[in-house]
Subunit: 325 residues, 2 copies
């Protein structure tokens, strides 16, 4: 682990950040060469290189602290609530009494923080490949990494695909895949064999939520994901979406375009068994405030926005309905 | 009117576009100095200077043709449907048989295109201050300006505030304010006297829809708008929002931040009279395909997304509910 936790006060953009504008964080993606996006770097707080990626934390001028992996913004303090709350509560509010939950990826701990709101939950496993992400989150994003403080959490550092294969059949009530993008290391997480492993790891009527791209930009990819899920998950298969202004989280190939789109989608699927109606949450976390004391108030999620997330613009509904039915 | 309708094939960024990155369209706003955004300019198609503003049209690499006024992106071919359809159908689907409709601003014609879908509509007035915007839209954005072809449309070139003052009481069923931002020339359009003029121009139980900022960025401004509307409109007062990836439309002071947010909001209000329940559309334009032949299919709007638009994230709901009740 190379660590430089940045006493440097000068604004200096490291090489791992592309430098279209000196002093600005910019990314131009080879997949989306026509777009660039910049975010003013006030101060670099951390630079390191793990076995898997370059890790940078900087203070931005308007979005608080920003975590960057291999040149890709993963989260900002300002808007992380939208993603973390939606990817967690869309699945967990849709089933009664979730007890065992698995998180794949999500090393920053934000999803753990949200899962920990459920008093019914007994066991939270997380499988993150990169320990440095965990450590950096704990150091610089305590409000996100607070999820690790929950005694129900067990961290497994390793490959999510391998971890899932070893899971006994029917172990989990819910699996949340807080993964990176479908090209590069995480590409397997969008394919049928992975979805089949997830389905096997879930109990009958168990649920999965996986991040699933932007309706504005990736309808062709979403179409494939929906078709794959339809073949694997014999319960229900749904697409939901939400707004995340800086959404670039885990989209290394299209960070810039994601920033343009400002939305991120989720696949919500259930296995054969007790029916799950994702559009009508039966386990509303916002109806009970007992979690607020330890985990803080919900900033984004509520039951209304849960249901609304499944209402798609016409252009997206047309494509997704054609695959889902 | 200075016109240069650009036979130039070279990619040359005019001075009226800021030039952080040569060859890219970039904006850095004084209101949001920490953010910048760029969109690749493939070819400048038009440059002109009207009595009110600099007008530029360029071909972008990923968002089609882009209209820029005083350095601010107003619309892109790729995502204009979201804004135009939502700002129009949210109000018009909420009342029975709209007959007389006034559009303030909206010189590109996109809102007219959407209003023209209603067979009940007999008269569509539009008051746009800048004739060059109309002409440029007709030349470069025929799919948007097609709204002007409808024989029910009357274009009034002039100031919207003055036009409204001269309107006889109770003239319109609906007013749509497709305005620019609340600082600069359009600032009056966000204040109580303007809302009072709108209320006067509306019939009892008439409706107004006005663009109303981003929940991610402008809650303090939205708070004031809601409070103002609550005082003026004695029917219902609601806030709705939608996703517009490049949303910069009319936000000259915070274009960059808007691009970050990817959302735009709308105030939906009704005057005293027959009650209007904006959240449940009673005049669904998507239930009848007769408009599709002349106006093309709806790309974004549907009745589901209409209702969903009123579901707010918790942080926004908290502020807006406190002002609205």
């Amino acid at each position: 682990m190379e660590v430089n936790n940045g006493d440097a006060t000068a604004v200096e953009v490291p090489e791992s950040l592309s430098s279209v504008i000196p002093g600005w964080f910019s990314e131009i993606s080879p997949m989306w060469p026509g777009e660039a996006h910049s975010l003013k770097v006030e101060k670099i707080l951390f630079q390191g290189k793990s076995d898997y990626q370059n890790v940078v934390v900087f203070q931005s001028s308007t979005y608080g602290k920003v975590l960057v992996l291999d040149g890709v913004i993963q989260l900002t303090e300002r808007d992380e609530c939208a993603y973390q709350e939606m990817i967690t509560h869309l699945p967990l509010c849709s089933i009664p009494n979730p007890k065992k939950v698995l998180v794949i990826g999500g090393g920053d701990g934000g999803v753990l923080r949200e899962v920990a709101r459920y008093s019914s939950v007994e066991k939270i496993d997380i499988c993150e490949i990169d320990k440095m992400v965990v450590d950096v989150s704990k150091q610089f994003f305590p409000g996100v990494a607070v999820g690790y403080d929950d005694p129900r959490v067990t961290l497994h550092v390793g490959d999510g695909v391998a971890f899932l294969k070893a899971v006994p059949e029917g172990t989990y009530d819910a699996v949340i895949v807080d993964s990176s993008d479908p090209i590069g290391p995480a590409q397997e997480l969008f394919k049928k064999p992975f979805f089949a492993s997830v389905a096997k790891a879930l109990r009958p009527g168990g649920v999965v939520c996986t991040q699933a791209e932007s309706i504005w930009l990736h309808m062709h990819i979403i179409e494939d994901i929906v078709a794959n899920c339809r073949q694997v998950f014999k319960g229900s298969v749904n697409y939901a979406w939400t707004t995340v202004p800086t959404y670039p989280r885990h989209f290394s190939f299209n960070i810039v375009a994601s920033l343009f789109s400002g939305v991120i989608g989720f696949m919500l699927c259930s296995t054969e068994g007790p029916a799950v109606d994702f559009k009508h949450p039966i386990n509303p976390i916002d109806a009970d405030d007992s979690h607020v004391k330890t985990n803080g108030p919900l900033r984004f999620y509520n039951s209304e926005i849960h249901s609304a997330a499944f209402c798609l613009p016409s252009f997206a509904r047309k494509v997704i309905d054609s695959k889902a039915n």
